[in-house]
C-alpha cells in the first residue's frame, strides 16, 4: 500500500498550497469573513464543532452506506435481470436513463410521499442516486464477457444460467466495482439532498441539516466546515470502495479497469 500512500502526496500538497493561497489571497483582497471565511477559521470552527460534525457525518455516512449497499445489491440484481433478455433490456433502459438524468432534488419531495419523513427517505435518496452507475456498468460488464468464452460454453451446451454464474458474473466484477466507485461519492450527495428534504431532525440531523441550520444561523464558517466534512465523507467512501475493489480484483487476478469518471 506504499504506492497508494505516495499517490496521496500530490493532492495533499496541492490542497495545502490552495489553502494557503486562499488564506493569504482573501486577506490581501480584503474579502470580508462573512462572505468567505478563511480556511484557518473553517478548520478552527470544525475543531470547535467536531462533536456535532462527527455526529452529523456519522448519520449521513450510515444512511449513504446503507443506500450504497442497497443499490449495489439492487443494481447488481437489476443488471442481471436486464442481461438475460434483450427485450426487457430495451424496455427498461429508457427508465434507467430517466433515473440517471432526473435531478434527485426534483424527486426528493415525492420520496416523502412514498416512504414518509425520516431515515428511510434519506437512504432511498442515496440509493436512487447511486443506482444507475452500478446498473449501467454491471450490465455492460455482463454483456461484454469474452465472446470466445461464451462460444466455448455454448459448444459445451451450457445453460444460460451456467454461463451467467461461471462466466458473465465473474467477468462483470471489474465493471461492477467501477460502477460502485462512482456510486460511492454519489450516495453521499444523495443522502445529503435527502436530508434537505425528507429527514427528521428532532433527534439531531445529518450533515445536510447542519448545513441548512448553519446557513439560517449565518454561521458561514460552519457552513464551510460542514461542506468540507461532506466532501471528506464522499472522499472516504470513494477511497474505501477503491481500496476494496483493488483488493478484490487482485484476489481474482483481474486487471483493474479505470473509468474516466472514477
Amino acid at each position: 500500500m506504499s504506492r497508494s500512500l505516495r499517490d496521496l502526496y500530490p493532492p495533499l500538497i496541492l490542497l495545502l498550497i490552495l489553502g494557503l493561497s486562499a488564506e493569504l489571497g482573501l486577506d490581501l483582497a480584503g474579502v470580508p469573513a462573512y462572505l468567505c471565511p478563511r480556511p484557518s477559521e473553517v478548520i478552527r470552527t470544525a475543531w470547535r464543532h467536531q462533536e456535532a460534525l462527527r455526529e452529523a457525518l456519522g448519520r449521513t455516512g450510515l444512511a449513504a452506506l446503507t443506500g450504497l449497499l442497497g443499490s449495489a445489491l439492487g443494481g447488481g440484481l437489476l443488471a442481471l435481470t436486464l442481461s438475460l433478455n434483450a427485450w426487457v433490456r430495451k424496455a427498461v433502459y429508457p427508465l434507467m436513463v430517466f433515473f440517471q438524468t432526473v435531478p434527485i432534488v426534483a424527486i426528493a419531495p415525492m420520496m416523502v410521499i412514498w416512504v414518509g419523513y425520516g431515515r428511510p427517505a434519506v437512504i432511498l435518496s442515496a440509493l436512487i442516486v447511486s443506482l444507475s452507475p452500478i446498473v449501467a456498468n454491471s450490465l455492460q460488464g455482463l454483456l461484454s464477457a469474452d465472446p470466445a468464452l461464451v462460444d466455448l460454453f455454448r459448444m459445451k451446451r451450457a445453460s444460460s444460467l451456467r454461463i451467467l454464474l461461471k462466466l458473465r458474473i465473474p467477468s462483470a466484477i471489474p465493471q461492477f466495482l467501477t460502477g460502485l466507485r462512482i456510486a460511492a461519492g454519489l450516495s453521499v450527495i444523495g443522502a445529503i439532498v435527502g436530508e434537505f428534504v425528507a429527514d427528521t431532525f428532532d433527534g439531531g440531523g445529518g450533515i445536510g441539516t447542519l448545513i441548512e441550520s448553519s446557513i439560517k444561523e449565518q454561521e458561514t464558517p460552519l457552513v464551510f466546515a460542514a461542506l468540507m466534512g461532506s466532501t471528506l465523507l464522499g472522499l472516504t467512501f470513494f477511497v474505501a470502495v477503491g481500496g476494496l475493489s483493488h483488493l478484490a480484483l487482485r484476489h481474482l487476478h483481474i486487471a483493474e479497469t479505470r473509468s474516466s469518471q472514477g
Binding site: V31, V112, L227
Partner: protein, 314 residues
C-alpha cells in the same frame, strides 16, 4: 434547495466582489435586493416604481427580485446592492456576526409567519402541537429555536420545511410553518380547512420585510436614503388603496402566481402592514424597544453572541 443556492450565491458573490467591499454606487443607482420573486410582500416598491415616485425624487432605483437562497444581507454588505429586504431577526443575527447593517423601514409591523395546522385537529393548547404528529420547520431558524425553548419538541417529528404542500394535505397531524399570505390560502383552495397560529401570538414578533442598508452607505448618503424611504412609504400607501397596477406589473415579472392569488395575498397582508392603532404616518416606522426585546430573545436562543443593538435611520 435553498442551501445549495445560498452557497453558490455566496461563492458568486466572493468572485464578483473583488477587493473593495464598500464599493460605491458610481452611477448613483440605488439597487434594492429582494429575497424572493415579485409578490405582494414587495407590492409597495413596485407601486412606487410604476407611479414614478422614485424618479420624481431624482432617485434611480433598481428593484431586483431574488430567488430561493439569495444571500441578500451579504450582497448589501459587500456592495452588490445598496439596500435589501430581510427579516428583523436575520438582520440582528448578521449584526452579531459583524455585518454592519441598518434597518430603515419596516413594511410588516407584525410578523406574517406562523404555524399552519388542520382546522379539525383537536388540541387543548398550543403545547399539544409539540407532543405528537409532524411539524415542518426550517432547521436552525429563529422561530424553530424559539418554539423549542418555549415548548420543547416532545414527541413531535421535526422535518424540513419545503415548498410542498402534499404531505400537509394528506396528513391531519401534519403542521408546518407558513406565510399567512401563502400556504394557508393554497391549502384552503386545495380543500383543507386550516388554522394558523401566528408566531407573534406566541411571543415571537420580529419586524418583517425590513428595508435595510449598510452603515457605511447610510453615513455617506443619509438624505438619499431618507428620500427613498419617503418614496417607498408613499408607494405602499398607493398599493394599499389601489394594488391593481402594481399587481399587473408584478405578474408580468412572476408568471407562476395567478391574479387571484395576488389579490388574496394583498388583502391578507393588510392586517400586518402597520400598527392597528397608529395611522398612516406611523407606517414603516420601528420602535427601538421592539428591536431591543427581539435582540434579547435572539440572544437567549443562542442565535447571537450578545444582545445586539441595531441603529436606525438617524
Amino acid at each position: 434547495m435553498n442551501r445549495w443556492f445560498f452557497v453558490v450565491g455566496l461563492l458568486t458573490l466572493i468572485l464578483t466582489t473583488g477587493c473593495d467591499s464598500n464599493k460605491e454606487h458610481e452611477s448613483g443607482q440605488l439597487r434594492i435586493q429582494f429575497d424572493w420573486v415579485p409578490e405582494p410582500e414587495f407590492g409597495g416598491y413596485y407601486a412606487a416604481e410604476l407611479m414614478g415616485l422614485f424618479s420624481a425624487r431624482n432617485l434611480a432605483v433598481d428593484l431586483r427580485p431574488g430567488a430561493a437562497g439569495t444571500p441578500v444581507i451579504q450582497m448589501v454588505a459587500s456592495g452588490q446592492a445598496e439596500l435589501g429586504v430581510a427579516g428583523a431577526d436575520d438582520l440582528l443575527i448578521a449584526k452579531s456576526h459583524g455585518i454592519d447593517v441598518v434597518p430603515v423601514f419596516a413594511a410588516f409591523h407584525d410578523c406574517p409567519l406562523g404555524l399552519m395546522i388542520h382546522a379539525e385537529r383537536k388540541i387543548n393548547g398550543v403545547e399539544d402541537l409539540f407532543k405528537n404528529g409532524t411539524l415542518a420547520m426550517t432547521p436552525g431558524s429563529a422561530p424553530t429555536r424559539f418554539l423549542e425553548k418555549r415548548y420543547g419538541y416532545h414527541g413531535v417529528k421535526l422535518v424540513p420545511y419545503g415548498n410542498n404542500l402534499a404531505t400537509f394535505m394528506s396528513d391531519p397531524l401534519f403542521g408546518q410553518q407558513c406565510f399567512i399570505t401563502s400556504e394557508p390560502v393554497a391549502a384552503e383552495r386545495g380543500g383543507v380547512k386550516v388554522r394558523v397560529i401566528l408566531f407573534k401570538d406566541l411571543g415571537y414578533n420580529p419586524y418583517a420585510g425590513v428595508l435595510f442598508t449598510r452603515r457605511a452607505f447610510l453615513e455617506k448618503h443619509p438624505d438619499e436614503i431618507r428620500t427613498l424611504v419617503a418614496a417607498v412609504k408613499e408607494g405602499w400607501l398607493a398599493y394599499q388603496s389601489d394594488p391593481e397596477p402594481a399587481i399587473a406589473r408584478m405578474m408580468s415579472l412572476n408568471s407562476t402566481m395567478s391574479l387571484e392569488t395576488f389579490r388574496t395575498a394583498t388583502q391578507i397582508q393588510q392586517d400586518y402592514l402597520w400598527p392597528q392603532a397608529g395611522g398612516h404616518e406611523t407606517f414603516g416606522t420601528m420602535e427601538a424597544s421592539r428591536w431591543d426585546s427581539l435582540s434579547k430573545t435572539l440572544n437567549e436562543l443562542g442565535m447571537t453572541s450578545a444582545p445586539t443593538a441595531i441603529g436606525s435611520l438617524p
